[in-house]
């Protein structure tokens, strides 16, 4: 379908590019107040270490999406209670023990 067309008249459900997650979208989400809370979020050091692990992980797609859980890792890595979802190769565990 063409942009601006009425979506109800669209041809099918898969023909847009909604899976392409932009840096701007990620930054907009990360600007939300909850990501400034130290109660819910890890500190910058842990965050960076987690993202380093994701960066070299074969389960990372397009630099943003973890294909094990479907999460945008730049967002999920912020949450304290989140863990790396890949039971075959739990990468964040080594990070958390640092």
């Amino acid at each position: 379908m063409k942009p601006g067309m009425d979506r109800s008249a669209r041809n099918c459900k898969g023909c847009d590019d909604s899976y392409t997650v932009t840096e701007a979208q990620i930054q907009r989400i990360l600007a939300a107040p909850m990501f400034q809370s130290s109660e819910r979020c890890v500190d910058d050091e842990v965050y960076a270490a987690r993202l380093r692990e994701c960066g070299s992980c074969p389960k990372l797609m397009s630099g943003t999406t973890c294909i094990v859980c479907g999460c945008i890792v730049q967002i999920s890595a912020k949450y304290k209670e989140k863990s790396c979802p890949n039971p075959n190769d739990v990468r964040w565990r080594s990070v958390a023990s640092h």
Binding site: R10, M61, S62, C69, C71, N86, P87
Partner: protein, 496 residues
């Protein structure tokens, strides 16, 4: 006002085809990979690469049929990429869904093995959009030819000597959209051509399903039935319940009260769609030989925040349970025409019955509806008359209750009841006529939620689960019950 129901236990209106309880699985997001397929070397317990926990949970539902490999993916799928030694299989980009690299580790053999593990019938969607007649013809030969043929030999080389039984085959998917953007006249001709080569080998008889309309595209139905009704056994219909619009569909949880009633009203539209499409089908097929196959239905919300939007991962709440209950009731009512339905999609995508995250798995409220309602599979639909109270909320005016009753082969009568009202209980009186003997026992099960978006999480996987239902009294052939707000209840009645 209370709700009055009369059930004529001696008037059967048709058989509820068990295939109405079918499911759909597409190579999309984490449905196939992670949802079913983890590979043999995974620490997640699996049998030949297919995770055991998901199979066990699904077996309990008595899944009758599973559709695969799409969806839009079907019209990009070249089956020969997905056979042979897995390390040699072609890698491709799944352009329809998320741009994920598809390594083809889950292909024909793995899907048919999954169906064997689930004890269900496979329903395969062939590629009309970007495939060839030869390719489709050879796929059917590969799966079902019993004897010496090039495709049977290839199958044997890949480790399977005996052919599989394959009944359900779709000739294309959404060919009005992602499956080729065709006009109905063009697709009708292509359908006639492609289905010619979808052959019956030996005693394997294929039930051919044509691509039918998107939602209320009545012209598509008209043209397809006019041009090809005699060459098909079934025709598909796709309709999704989207509360708001496609730009902002509404959230799966945390939604305002208004969206509760709005969603249910949109789910109830399925009744009108089936009635009108059936009326067109009746003109060309008054004997109702051709089945209406609703092979994609379910709720479609905004994806869970923080997940890739292309993966269509959404939570599933008590509202989804009501949509499932209402929709299954509509399918029951039309069981003379609706011969199969496939909810989208079985694991991790849209209105799923199961969600997974790594080795964790949870059952959704929709799972529980399919579990509670499985007693209707292959049962005789009973003549039922309902006078419902009104459920009014904002601009919405809906019936408060929805009812369906059936009689199983063992003589048990099951009555399923949905209370659509998000805030009020429903008093119901059920008069049972035509019983052969008096009632001996009644048992009940109910699914409800504490809030309009009650749902299960990996931290609290049993927040929404069925409970024994005891808020009823009965006397002779008269039952009075009080249904909780936003609930689905199933009663089991046994005669003396």
């Amino acid at each position: 006002m209370s709700n009055q129901i009369t059930i004529n236990a001696d008037i059967a209106k048709g058989t509820i085809n068990r295939n109405i309880y079918g499911h759909f699985s597409e190579h999309l997001g984490r449905c196939i990979y992670e949802g079913f397929w983890v590979g043999e070397d995974s620490v997640i317990p699996n049998t030949k690469g297919i995770r055991n926990d998901v199979v066990e949970a699904l077996k309990k539902l008595n899944i009758p049929v599973l559709r695969w490999p799409g969806g839009c993916f079907a019209d990009e799928y070249h089956w020969k990429d997905g056979i042979g030694p897995s390390e040699e299989r072609k890698r491709m980009i799944n352009t329809h869904w998320g741009g994920v690299v598809e390594n083809n580790h889950f292909g024909t053999h793995e899907f048919l093995l999954l169906c064997e593990q689930l004890g269900c019938e496979p329903y395969i969607s062939g590629n009309v959009g970007s495939g060839t007649v030869q390719e489709m013809s050879e796929w059917v030969e590969y799966m079902t030819f019993d004897g010496v043929s090039p495709m049977a030999e290839l199958r044997e080389k890949n480790g399977r000597e005996k052919p599989w039984k394959l009944k359900y085959f779709g000739v294309g998917n959404e060919n009005w959209g992602c499956g080729g953007n065709m006009r109905p006249e063009y697709y009708a001709d292509l359908y006639r051509r492609y289905q010619t080569y979808v052959r019956n080998y030996g005693d394997n008889e294929i039930y051919r399903i044509a691509c039918g309309p998107n939602v209320d595209d009545y012209k598509w139905m008209e043209v397809l039935m006019r041009e090809a009704a005699g060459k098909m056994d079934g025709i598909s219909l796709h309709y999704y319940t989207v509360p708001k619009d496609w730009q902002d569909k509404g959230a799966a949880t945390g939604f305002p009260e208004d969206e509760w009633a709005l969603t249910l009203r949109k789910a109830l539209w399925m009744e009108e769609l089936i009635t009108k499409h059936s009326a067109i089908m009746d003109q060309y097929d008054p004997e109702k030989r051709v089945g209406l196959i609703v092979d994609e239905w379910g709720t479609w919300f905004n994806t869970e925040p923080g997940t890739n939007p292309g993966f269509l991962y959404q939570q599933n709440s008590i509202r989804d349970a009501l949509v499932a209950g209402l929709t299954l009731h509509i399918f029951h009512d039309h069981c003379d025409r609706v011969q199969m339905a496939n909810i989208a999609q079985i694991v991790n995508v849209l209105q799923s019955v199961i969600l997974t995250e790594g080795e964790k798995m949870l059952l959704t409220p929709t799972y529980h509806i399919f579990d509670m309602f499985k007693v209707h599979q292959d049962a005789e639909l009973l003549d039922t008359h309902t006078t419902s109270a009104r459920y009014e909320h904002g601009d919405e005016l809906l019936p408060q209750i929805s009812v369906s009753a059936s009689k199983a082969a063992d003589g048990k009568i099951h009555i399923s009841l949905c209370n659509l009202d998000h805030s009020a209980e429903a008093d119901v009186s059920i008069a049972l006529r035509g019983l052969t003997q008096g009632l001996k026992t009644i048992k009940g099960t109910v699914l409800s939620g504490a809030a309009i978006d009650s749902h299960n999480t990996f931290e609290q996987p049993n927040a929404v689960e069925p409970a024994a239902f005891t808020s009823f009294t009965w006397d002779g052939a008269q039952v009075s019950a009080k249904l909780p707000a936003m609930s689905v209840t199933v009663l089991e009645l046994i005669e003396q």
